[in-house]
Subunit: 550 residues, 2 copies
Amino acid sequence: MGEKILVIGAVAAGTKAAAKIKRENPKAQIVVVTRDEYISYAGCGLPYYIGGVIEEKKELVVKTPEDFKLLTGIDVLTKHEALKIHKEAKTVEVEDMTTGEIKEYKYDKLVIATGASPFIPPIEGRDLKGVFSVRTVNDALAIRELVDQGAVKKAVVVGGGFIGLEVAENLHEKNIEVSIVELISHILPPFDEEIALYAQNYMADKGVNIYTGEKVLSLEGKDGRVSKVITDKREIAADLVIMSVGVRPNTELAKEIGLELGPTGAIRVNEYMETSERDIYAVGDCAENMNLITGQPAWYPMGSTANKMGRVAGINIANEEKDSLKGVLGTTIVKLFKLNAGKTGLSERDARKAGFEVETALVPANDRAHYYPGYREIITKLVVDKKTHKILGAQVIGEGVVDKPMDIIATAITFGAKVEDLEKLDLAYAPPFSTAMASTILAANVLRNKLTGRVQGINPVELKNRLHEVQIVDVRDEGSFMVGTIPGAVNIPSGELYMRAHALDKHKEIVLVCKIGKNAYLSYLKLKELGFENVKILEGGTNAYPYEKE
Amino acid sequence: MGEKILVIGAVAAGTKAAAKIKRENPKAQIVVVTRDEYISYAGCGLPYYIGGVIEEKKELVVKTPEDFKLLTGIDVLTKHEALKIHKEAKTVEVEDMTTGEIKEYKYDKLVIATGASPFIPPIEGRDLKGVFSVRTVNDALAIRELVDQGAVKKAVVVGGGFIGLEVAENLHEKNIEVSIVELISHILPPFDEEIALYAQNYMADKGVNIYTGEKVLSLEGKDGRVSKVITDKREIAADLVIMSVGVRPNTELAKEIGLELGPTGAIRVNEYMETSERDIYAVGDCAENMNLITGQPAWYPMGSTANKMGRVAGINIANEEKDSLKGVLGTTIVKLFKLNAGKTGLSERDARKAGFEVETALVPANDRAHYYPGYREIITKLVVDKKTHKILGAQVIGEGVVDKPMDIIATAITFGAKVEDLEKLDLAYAPPFSTAMASTILAANVLRNKLTGRVQGINPVELKNRLHEVQIVDVRDEGSFMVGTIPGAVNIPSGELYMRAHALDKHKEIVLVCKIGKNAYLSYLKLKELGFENVKILEGGTNAYPYEKE
């Protein structure tokens, strides 16, 4: 007889763990229970189903319980809710939600994969019809039905995180007027301000209304259907409201039996996916991770991590051999219309908060050879530890290829790469794929120039806050200058700099501005040669400056 | 007064070194000489100019000498040939090819960046009109002119390497009948057979004639123009012949003054780009590299590496501080119609040759979520050291995104990653970019299953050679089986395996076959459970089997 394994939860981590255990130990007796009616569904695909990019429901539901049984030999009981764990008796009470019958399941090993649920702030009107979160297949089905009926003219998305923005895009593409309300000062809260604002400008240009630094106070309805969103600054008409202010780990079952939770509120597990209780494992969105950079607990509820956790737990449950997941970087990526934005490791803000002395670079570059058709610009922000030169994090944004540099940098960070290592990577080059000096290498070059004092830079966020303290010199040609420059800038094209530099005040800080930073760097060297000491370049140039231009 | 720097060569490495020196030390007096009339041109873009993908010549020539002067303040003398280095006097004799005048240039430091030239085998007819190599802008201009005139109906490309294949594609897209003749048994010589043949089948399907294992003996002409290629097996009519059997480093100047060459025939340099002679540096295609995996000298004449070498030399020449390039992986990538093929590190063949005991995996996977429109398959081949589990190399091929996994793996190899590390990478996931388990992670999972004895695999190359020694069982459904399977296979769909396995001979090796390997793996576990011991799965399934099917 094989061991009895009970798995609670059947989206990514639960089914992965179950399948892996069965493959490792065909004799294991495995039951998976889930209160949902769908299993193995593509949670990350839900926004695209709403917009019809993913046409059919069946594409969203990766496997039915029947498919899963056929493939793995494992029974998944849907609409079965685990009510209570009895850790001494090693049983779980499970209710068949269809019949109301309650059964006791024995286990030798238990896997908790209860996932996470959307947090809905306790505001008035949250129970009105037309108010949704986007977490389950049923959420997506219901929203899509409303949209396809033409019942939605105006939608409000509460929360400017990934899911909210993806839903906003998909609704906008359905000719719905979409407004996003975000509590903090920019959308994409995990990103640094200059990157987030770049995305925000882009979304606004596409016609999405964005209200940041604004709090939703209540929802108003008419005949039981939502009709209005009331914020601390305005009222917004809405016949659909998407609540996406975040998710919380489902830890009720775990808490009841006293499993340790971590500081993030998710179930604490070690690198083997073991909880504080022998023979109980936790995987997926209900469980905590370790941040590889800070060594601190972190919680990144993501499908990619859930799959890894499920596999590791599966191996450890079925074998003497131990597999481990030491930690993650919180790598994420989002597509917003044609814009791509990704982040791995720590933001500048989080790195400073974690106590690092940081240096950063903000570097626009083409994703492919500029002479090869279809190339696009991307902007790379690198964050490094000033003392060790170790890469702490990166954010990349642009219409070009962003997932590749993200993955390169995430891989490098995993191995403790320094800026100097990043510069020397032997990346794949041919004109259809890259530039000879890949964007990541270029960004590392710039960052090392800063670290070694070859150039001083000023970040757009800082420049915006100090606009009136500095002399801003736009070194582009007059035509570009006329189209739009940093407020207060004067124009001295780089070619005229030797001749006209004497007009500048040597005792006042000078900020040189060009399109992407390169020309400003060359001009910087000229001014240095001329004896100017207090000079900086605007990092990322006008292209990466996300504030008002004049 | 600044140091006098002379740079010989002005494509990628030479101009990069010169520009970097000037930025580091504005007082440096730098002269760049080149016998070419173009500088900084996009050598890798030449095939695409021939086909018109790159429309204008000016897109190909990244910078004119005037641009370069304006940007850097450095003089580049085109059509100036360096004739002789006098290392004791520290001078170089340079001929102005326009006037015939010879001048002596003094240097404090010399940078040799003489590049590489096509090797043209000494066969009869090589000097006929219509016979070209593709190395310089003038080559590309001349070929494009012929093509645009409609003067080319049939072209023969001699050599199945990257440039040859890219030119073949571009000519084919111009409705020219193209034949490729390759000496070894498959195109893409650096790749392992099963990957190379996959590309070869793809090119053949597109309508390119491919003759492998065939030697070109001579070219025949009519009125001084090429008309026929004579191989050891056939005659091929041709009004255009592209010779692309490889390039050789230009080392004449270096040899004359006794600079050490490495075993690859290129100029030996250390990690600082210093040659065996004080104050003489060599960079770019004329210089040797170190292979990071083997620690042995290697020669990879590539633009991406040339730029890095130029930068390193520039920093070292201008500063006390030393920068270094420890080595490279020989990462390469090519687009062939819609197929992409990349390679990094060692092939299986080279790894064995270098003395490693290797394990490999061949794993097809989707590049993006299967429910997200536009996903494509790619096949990953991983090569690892069986003892240490360190990744030695990878090849990825398919219509999907190949450059990203290449760069992930190249980065991982750089840091000595093991299979287990690759499995745990926190890569960017969202449906438009990746699958939750990225293809690279999946390939690492499969490889670890092999390393730990969870599954035994057989590579298509080996199966093809042992077709008649094994029982081949295709576990797909009957419909798929009928469309095409491995010669000699019988069909037992996986669902019927428990019932029908008794018909198999337990004492004869069984090879299980499915579409990509996953179903075969699950069937493998079933057969193991049933007591079969001598079982293997066909790695990569029918999708990656590049030989005849029936």
